[in-house]
Symmetry: D2
Subunit: 336 residues, 4 copies
C-alpha cells in the first residue's frame, strides 16, 4: 500500500501518517519528491483496516499494491486448478459443455433436453428451478419439483446436473439434488449466499455480475473459498455497457485476464451474453479460441414455446450443429 | 406491442404471426410499408407471455409500447404518493434527511450519532447492522445486536430508524426493531427479498442497483407493491460508469425521470454516489434543486476511526454545516 | 511515479529498473515489502517518456502520482479563473447563460432567437453553423452564411455570440465573426483543432467528450492552454452510459470534481445531456446548486419546425419561465 | 416509423399527427389499443425530417423501424463485399494481417519492422505518422517525413501500407503515399474528414469510436460510401466500459453483429483493445474464430524503446510466434 501526500503537505502531517502506520506494527518508507511525498507501507496491510488513512490530514490518495483476494490469486497458487463436479473434471485439457433449458418447465421438457444434449456431447445438464425475473409478472420457476426432475434426468442419462440457487433456502434444497450449484449474476455479491455456498462444500459456478469488475468477481469467489470450498468455476456472461445490439457485451478479454490473475477454471455463456441465437456459434468458437474451459448454452425442445429466454435458446438440431462446429476448435486448443 | 417483420417476410409469415396473436384473444393490425410490414398488437400483452413471437419466421424485432410495471406507474396513478414511516411523511412538500453511520459499530457510537443528527435536523437515523462488503476480510456488521441499539436510539431521540436488510433472515429480524427497511443496491434484483418485503407491509427504501436502468428499478419496486405493500421510497445512489473520479456516477437526471414515470417518492444518497466527503454538499444541494424528496447522508463521530466508509462520512460539525447550507435550497424548493 | 515490481522479481530486475531511472537524472527510492518491492521515482517524470518501464523485466505496474496536465491544474493555480469573452466575464460570482438554436437555419430564425433570449436575460447567443450529424442524410449547417447572421445578431442585440467549429477551416472562418468558439464533444480529442484553437487566442468553450474521463478532458484543455491561450471554459454535456431514459447521463459530480482539480470555469448543458425538454429546468437548477458558472440552453422560435434537435429545444415562453425559475437559485449561489 | 401516443391522447391530437404525416405524402395507419393509440408511418421516412413529430401534442415516443444507413446495410446488399487495397483483397476467404509500429519513429525503425512483418506473413505495414495523443506533452508524429518512409518500405518489401489521417490536411498528403488510410477511433464522427475520405476514393479503414454504438459506426461508414467510395473496412478496437483490467473492452460480439447488419469486411485490433501484450494472442485467435476478416497488430523492434504504446507492442519474435499460432485457426475458418 502506498500513501500519496498532497503537494505542500506539512512535515507534521507526513509524520502523523508514518506514526499511524508504525503504531500498527508496519514499516513506513518515505520518498520525498519535488512535488509530493510518498509513503510506502511495508507489511500486512490488513492491519490498517479501519485506520482510514485516506482522510488523515495532508493525504491525497491511497494506492493498493496487492490484490485483496488471496486464495483464488494465481500469484500464490500458480498452477491452474482442476475442479471435480459429479463425474466431470473442469479445467485445462477439457472442454465442459453445460446445456439445457433456461427454466425447467415440465418433466417431459427437461428429460427431452437431457437426452438431446447428452447425445450431442454435453457433459452437464443445466436448468433453472428458481428464476430471477425482472418483472414480477413473469414465470418464476418450479422450485423443488424442478430439482426432482433434474435428479431424474441425471439418473436417466448419466449427465451431471447444475442449477441456479437464488437464496439460502434454495441452496439448502438444491444441494440434495444437483452436482453443482450456480450463483447467478444478480447474486454475485449476495455475500450470505456466497458464504453459505462456501460452507456447503458443493462445487459452485459463480457467474460474473452484470456490472462487476474482474477484481470484484474474484473477491466474490474469495468469499466462497475462504469458507473452505475451493471447488469454484467462474462464468463470464456479458457485462452491461452502452451498446444495445446485444443484450450484454461479452467481455472476451476476461478469459485471458482471469487466466493471468487466478487459477480457477472459467467457462463462457454466450446465450445470456448476447440474447441472440445467431451469435452463439461464433462466440462459442471465440471463447474456446481465447482459452475458456467450457461453455454454457441454452437449449429448448421448442424455443418458440419456452416460458423464459426462448429467443436465445437453440433447438436440438441447432445444438447438434453447434457441437459439431466447435469440436475442431476445441481440438486445436488441446481440449476434449 | 409492435412486431416489425423483416424486409421480404412472406405473406405466410405475416399471417402466421397474426394468427398467433389472434389465438390469444388479441387483435392484430397490419401496416404494410414499402420496406417492411408492421403488426400492431391490441389488447393485454401479458397474454402473449411465452409466445416468443420474436423467433417466429420473418420477425425482425418486437417493440414494447407500454411499460411492464403498472402499480408504480404514474400513468395509472398521476398523483405523487406520500409515504408514512414511523412518525415521518416522505414526499412532496417535505425534505427527509436520513443520517447516521455506514455501519453500527457500538452502542455509544450509534447513540452519539443519533443525538447529533437529531440536533442538526435529521428525521431518520440510518445505520447498517448487516454489511455487504466486497472483500470477505472486511467488517461484516453487528446484526441483531446492532438493531437493538437502533431501537434504543429511536426511544432516546424520537428519530425514526432505518436499517438495510440483506437476506430473508435479516428482514425477519429487522422488522421487529425499525421503522423502515432498506434494500440495498446489490439486492435490488434479489426477488425473493423484494417479495418478502412486499408481504411484510413495512415501509421500504429501495436503492437503485449499480447497473440498473430506471425501468428495471421500477420493475423491482413493482415486485414489492404487487405483494400489497405500497410504502416504497426510491433512492438514487449512483450508477457504474467508466468515470473513476467519483466512486459511482450520481445520475441526477433520475430525479426528474422518476418524477415523470412514477408516483413514488425519491431520495438521493450523495455519500455512496461519490465516496468523497467534499462533494457531498454540492450534490446535496443539486439533489434538492432537481426535486428530490430527501437525502441519505453518512455521519460518524470519528470518520478516521470508522470500520466502514470512513472517508465519505461527515463529522458531526460537517453535518451541522451541511444542514445549515441546504436549508435555503429546501425552502426555495417548497420543502420543510 | 511509482513502479510496483511483481512478487518474486529478482534483485537484478529491481537494480535494472533503478539504473534506468537514474540514467535519466532521477532518483529511485526502494521499499522492499514482504510480498513486493516498490520503486518510487523522484524528479520530473517527463524525463522517463519513451522509457516504457512497464515492460522491463519484473515490473508489475506503474502508478502515476501526479496529473499530466499542469497549466489547467488547480494545484499550481489555486485561484479560480475568470474568463473574458466579448463583453462577458465567466467565472465565480456570475451566471452565464448561453441560449439559442441548435442550428442556425435562417436570418429570421436567428434574429428572433437573439431578441428573445436577450430579453429573457441570456448573455450569449449560441447557434450552430457547422453541424456534426450522425447520419449523412441530415441537415449539415449554413456554414459562413450562418456566421454572418451571428455577427448581425450581436450587433442588433449586444449579445455575445458563440459558435461550434468542427475543423481547422471552420475555425479560421469563425474567428472573424464570433466572441467565443465551441469545440464540441466529438472533437474533444481532435488535437490539431485544439492546438489551432490554442494558437488563435480566441476564448474557447471545450465540451466534454461523450466517453471522456475528467482527466482526459483536462488534458484536452491543456492542449489549448499550452499553446498560449488561457481563455477556456469547460462544458459538461452528459456522458454515455447504459441508461437510455435520457440521451446521455449528466455527470453532475463533474461540477465539484472540476472545481477541485482545475481553476477553469465550468458550465452545464442540460439540453444535450438529456434530450428531453421537461428535464431541462430541474437539471438547470441542479447545475447552479452544484456550483456551475453557467448554462447552455437550446431555444427555438418553433421547436416543432426545427431542423435539428427540436424535441429538446425550449420555446421562447418556456425559456422566459426557465430564466425566472432559476434566478432565485443563482442568487442563493451568490451569482448574478 | 411508428408513433406511439400517450395514454389518453385526444382524438384531435391523433388526427393532427395523421394529418402531418399525410401532408408529407406518406400514409398513416392507426391501431387503437386499450391503453394507447399507435400510428404507423408508411413510405419514405426521410420526408418527415424536420417535422419533429415527437413533440406534437399527445405523442409519447417515436420508434424507428428501419436503419438510417442504407448503402452499407446488408438488407440492401446481401453479399459480403471484398475490398481491394494495393495488391490485397480484404473479405471472405482471406485473413488480412496489418502489422507495424504504433508511431513511425525513424527510417530504420520502420524499415526493420517492414522486413520483419513481411517475413512473418503480414500483408500490410501499419505505422502512424500523425499521432493523436491524450497529453500535449507526448510525441506527436513525424508527419509527411514518416509517410515517405512508408512509401519506401512498400517499395522495398512489396507490403501494402496503411496510415492514420487525423485532419483534412493529413488526408491530402497521405493519399500520395499509402494504399489505404485509417480513420481512427477519435475521428469516427469527424464528419468532414469522413466526407473527404469518401470523395478521395482511397480505401479506408474506419475504426469504431471509443463510445460508438454499432449503429453510429455504420452511419459513419455511410458518410464515406455516400460520397461514392465503397472501399471501406471496419475495425473493432475496443469500447469504453467500467472495466479497467484492460485498456478498453474488446466487443467481440461486434464481429457477428456487423456480419448480420453490413456487407463490409471487419478486422479486429487486439493491441489497442487491451493495451497488454500477453492478451494479444488469445484475442487474435478469438477474433478469427468469431469470423473477423483480419487483424491489426502493433509490432516494434524494441518495445522498451518505443515512443508510443510500447507496452502493447510485440517484438519481432513474438510476432513470428503469433503468426504461427493463429495460422491453424485461420485455416479452420477457411481463410488464407
Amino acid at each position: 500500500m502506498i500513501i500519496i501526500m498532497k503537494p505542500g503537505a506539512s512535515e507534521e502531517a507526513v509524520q502523523k501518517v508514518s506514526d499511524l502506520i508504525r503504531s500498527r506494527g508496519l514499516q513506513a518508507h518515505l520518498s520525498k519528491g519535488a512535488e509530493v511525498t510518498i509513503v510506502g507501507v511495508v507489511g500486512d496491510k490488513t492491519r490498517l483496516q479501519g485506520s482510514n488513512i485516506e482522510i488523515s490530514e495532508g493525504v491525497d490518495k491511497i494506492v493498493n499494491v496487492t490484490e485483496s483476494y488471496k486464495l483464488v490469486n494465481k500469484k500464490f497458487h500458480p498452477e491452474d486448478s482442476v475442479i471435480t463436479a459429479g463425474t466431470a473434471s473442469i479445467g485445462p485439457g477439457t472442454l465442459t459443455v453445460m446445456a439445457g433449458p433456461c427454466a425447467i418447465e415440465s418433466h417431459d421438457q427437461l428429460l427431452q433436453c437431457a437426452y438431446a444434449v447428452k447425445k450431442a456431447g454435453a457433459t452437464f445438464l443445466r436448468g433453472g428451478a428458481y428464476k430471477p425475473r425482472t418483472s414480477p409478472y413473469s414465470f418464476q420457476g418450479l422450485e423443488e419439483e424442478g430439482l426432482k426432475y433434474m435428479k431424474e434426468a441425471r439418473e436417466a442419462t448419466g449427465l451431471n446436473v447444475i442449477c441456479e440457487v437464488t437464496s439460502l433456502r434454495a441452496l439448502e434444497t438444491a444441494v440434495k439434488y444437483v452436482d453443482m450449484i450456480q450463483i447467478g449474476a444478480r447474486n454475485m455479491q449476495n455475500f450470505e449466499l456466497l458464504k453459505e455456498a462456501g460452507r456447503s462444500g458443493v462445487p459452485v459456478m459463480l457467474k460474473r455480475g452484470l456490472a462487476a469488475t474482474i477484481d470484484e468477481w474474484l473477491n466474490a469467489a474469495e468469499y466462497i473459498i475462504s469458507e473452505g470450498n475451493p471447488n469454484i468455476v467462474l462464468c463470464e456472461r456479458g457485462i452491461r455497457t452502452y451498446e444495445t445490439a446485444t443484450r450484454n457485451t461479452l467481455d472476451i478479454s476476461a478469459v485471458p485476464v482471469i487466466r493471468a490473475k487466478s487459477h480457477l477454471p472459467l467457462i463462457v455463456d454466450p446465450s445470456h451474453a448476447t440474447g441472440v441465437r445467431a451469435y452463439i456459434e461464433p462466440l462459442s468458437k471465440a471463447a474456446i479460441a481465447a482459452g475458456a474451459d467450457g461453455l454454457m448454452i441454452e437449449v429448448h425442445p421448442c424455443p418458440a414455446c419456452a416460458l423464459s429466454d426462448g429467443p436465445q435458446s437453440l433447438t436440438f438440431e441447432q445444438f447438434d450443429d453447434l457441437m459439431a462446429h466447435i469440436r475442431p476448435y476445441a481440438e486445436l486448443a488441446g481440449r476434449s
